[in-house]
Symmetry: C2
Subunit: 351 residues, 2 copies
Amino acid sequence: MSATRPADPSEPSLEALVYRSLGVGAPEALVELLPTLTDDLAAIDQRIQQVLGSTYPRLTEAASYAVSAGGKRVRPLLMAATARALGLESVRPIGALAAAFQLIHTATLVHDDVIDHAELRRGRPSVPRAFGLPSAIVTGDYLFVRAFELAAEYPRSIILRCGESCAALVEGEVLQDAGRFDLTTGPEHYYRVIERKTAAIVAAALASVAEIAGAPAEVRDACETYGRSLGIAFQIRDDLLDVYGDPDLLGKPRYTDLREGNPTLVSLETHAALHGPEREEFERLFGLRRKQPGDLFRLRSLTDRTDVARTVALAAESWAERAVRALDPISPGPYRTLLEWLARGAAARRF
Amino acid sequence: MSATRPADPSEPSLEALVYRSLGVGAPEALVELLPTLTDDLAAIDQRIQQVLGSTYPRLTEAASYAVSAGGKRVRPLLMAATARALGLESVRPIGALAAAFQLIHTATLVHDDVIDHAELRRGRPSVPRAFGLPSAIVTGDYLFVRAFELAAEYPRSIILRCGESCAALVEGEVLQDAGRFDLTTGPEHYYRVIERKTAAIVAAALASVAEIAGAPAEVRDACETYGRSLGIAFQIRDDLLDVYGDPDLLGKPRYTDLREGNPTLVSLETHAALHGPEREEFERLFGLRRKQPGDLFRLRSLTDRTDVARTVALAAESWAERAVRALDPISPGPYRTLLEWLARGAAARRF
């Protein structure tokens, strides 16, 4: 087993993180929300620390390592913003649920890194790399278990919605696995995968917040649609960044999807846009189970010959606009504006 | 993906299974319980089928495969017997919980088979072998998720007890992993591992049944102690069978613990009983990360030179007797007799 690791000094503060999530050029009205949002995220982080700091030292170590590279906190931030947009005066009523969804998210990242043989995650060794495959598998299980314990604070309808979104998530993983190395699966299959793998859990998280806030059904549906559309925008952008992002900003290498043969909108649209021998070459290289760096660069340069980077960016933006439109039933105010801003940010982000 | 598999015709009927669990020489009073117990297990199986037969066909396939090699149904049988010993007229009130615990157990077997690179489980290819490693990981996750959805039917105290026992279980896995290839860990570490890995979940399951049955605290504690002691007896016997069992009866090869370097009471006691060069040889061979068949046979023949097979069998029996004694606060009757019989059977079983 590895020794306990010190907190990474390069890890940004929560405030810096929220600031970064708002992005450059955020309106003053949103920047003013910064202290409140930072406090909200800190309260959610504290719930996570509480539930992990248990009588199981060995698990706590690996689980805390997985959680401490906390990433962008997109889900907790969205949940806090939704809670406040719906009139909650504090995140306390949704704190355990936000912690649960963040742990579920972390659990799936840990298991993803086992499946994808990922070496790096958020600029550090991945959990399987740092603790070994057996520990990574059970650490993911442990995070799931703790998440469900947190969810047990809520009414059964919320536990079930949480569970169903997890089931959708793992179904998304299986669907994705079934379509590996195969570009004939097409965009429909891609959307089916990301709707389950990424969007379902955001939709469930925000619909649950609406339920806890006592919002009417119309608003709950709005939150669900907003979450789903934003999740899709986020994932499309993620897949674009896997090819065109800056590895230093992302904290992981590019071309993971190409290497692992996961069809994304980028590779599917490239495949559709190419013709003749170039198309055949793209298909052949994409289908290779073991790719050399040269294969990946060639796939990238074939992608560059198309207009796909732009069309995929536009697809993400169009899903972000759907998310924004879904917010109509929610009363205008700074937190609704924040939700709009976060949706557009998910489709435009560089990390 | 593999095609859907037909139900294995060699799979015994539930009735045959319960009959086999009772074992040779069961008193007539217990054999008379057979129809009721078979119905109880069928009702629990049905809950499992219901929750798995969802809108996620790909997951359902692998999950049903994992579940359908249903094994001995030790946990559901113990839960049904406890429910009836405490006066419940039907297993309906505990059906979802028994299904949940069976799914949790199955989930951990699937992940164990990934970790241990197991090829066979219950006489068939293991889930990772049949469906691949990525599917096996997410199938385990899916089974956990469905288990927690089932548990959501119950009061929070029961969900939390269920969650805590799962946390203990994964902690047991991590502890076990930390002690691999190391015989200096000693019996104390071994008991700490199996108490968490195997016994905690049986204890939690039976304490929960007592709570659902409205039993007083004394009886709930009795059920918990019974479950914990029986779980320990069961695991010690399991570890003995890994060296001395019949692979055909077990449905899996022997010497898994020796190969994977998991210290058990068998290897720990052998190590303690040997002297001089034989002891050194045992320690060295046990510590090999990659063992040849000859290494395993030598480890076995060194074990044969000691009295360990007998002392370990006695240790299992002594834990079974502790389980039996724990039942004192429960009113005598055929189902309490069944629980006694099952505890002794766990320590004497050949498969």
